[in-house]
Amino acid sequence: MNSIRKNDLAALATGTLFGAGLVVSGMTLPSKVIGFLDVLGGQWDPSLGLVMGGAIAVHAVVYRLIQGRPSPLLAERWSLPMREDIDSRLLFGAALFGIGWGLGGFCPGPGLVSLVAGASSSIVFVAAMLIAMLGTAKLETYLAGRSARNALSASNDESRPA
């Protein structure tokens, strides 16, 4: 078994534990999610704050332990985000995501996991989410290509003899 296969097994184990954890935690109950976000609704249920707390308690310790190691066990290098700048794109995107989360009660993971129960709301949510992700990606690629072409034609203009 080569290292690529082992990578996939680690990802499979991660997904399985992650999916089970989302269900155990209560994140696959959209009404509970909304009851957590709706702090002033008169029926506030703070439980789901403890999900993030419990996850970070474990993961932050593990991150400290592996920090400084040359590489992960089954890959040549770390693939972790290194950016530390806060730009408007990040905040705008996070704001949109939060609106969708508070409206429907689903974030991406619980939406996907809920598909196995077959409720129409999770199917509608995931379908809309995937279409929107793909559409955004396509639009980004198009805009990036257009600005690259514009830059190219601008430099062509400059090099054109008068």
């Binding site: 990802a11 184990a13 991660t14 997904g15 534990l17 992650f18 999916g19 954890g21 269900v23 155990v24 935690s25 209560g26 696959t28 959209p30 509970k32 909304i34 976000l37 709706d38 609704g41 008169g42 403890l50 993030m52 419990g54 996850a55 970070i56 991150y63 992960p72 890959a75 290098r77 693939s79 972790l80 905040l91 995107g93 995501f97 609106i99 409206l103 429907g104 009660g105 689903f106 991406p108 939406g111 996907l112 996991v113 809920s114 598909l115 409720a119 709301s121 999770s122 509608v124 949510f125 809309a128 989410m129 995937l130 929107a132 992700m133 793909l134 955004t136 990606a137 980004e140 690629t141």
Partner: protein
């Protein structure tokens, strides 16, 4: 003394006299929330230790929708794992799955917001909220505070216009 108490109570009441600062202790499930959170943290740790990657669901999905060479199989395995974990829990605890309390057209709008937002903002509750905060990432802290704030606003507005969830 007595009027001060009454005033203080009024601060937390809306026009109908409902106490808006009330908590729903019957729905409070601290132990399962913590246990589920610990499972999620363990899962993310496995992917970090072995593959050196962030267990961000929207990022994993994004890489499947816009595939790059050598970046597909582990994401597919992760997604299959989510389904496996879901099926296991569906057998053990079917009551832990619920439908959205909102009408389907609104759920579709919510899904679109989540899709566009996680793509533009490079992450969701897992990537920013769990993995990023665990790394003390400033970007993830800013993102998490932002989506928590707009999530609160959206849930509050939805209750105001559509009724309790």
């Amino acid at each position: 003394m007595r009027s001060a108490q009454i005033n203080r109570r009024r601060v937390f009441r809306d026009a109908k006299g409902t106490n808006v600062a009330n908590m729903n202790w019957d729905a409070f499930t601290p132990w399962s929330a913590l246990a589920g959170g610990a499972l999620i943290g363990t899962a993310a740790s496995i992917l970090l230790i072995f593959n050196g990657r962030v267990a961000g669901i929207s990022g994993v999905l994004g890489g499947l929708l816009v595939p790059k060479q050598g970046e597909v199989s582990w994401r597919l395995a992760f997604a299959i794992g989510l389904a496996v974990g879901g099926v296991l829990m569906l057998a053990l605890s079917p009551e832990s799955f619920g439908a959205s309390p909102r009408a389907l057209p609104l759920v579709a709008v919510a899904g679109a917001f989540v899709g566009v937002g996680t793509r533009i903002g490079n992450g969701c509750t897992s990537g920013h909220g769990v993995c990023g905060l665990s790394r003390l990432s400033v970007r993830s802290l800013a993102a998490t505070l932002t989506f928590m704030a707009t999530g609160f606003l959206a849930a509050t507005a939805a209750r105001f216009f559509l009724g309790a969830a």
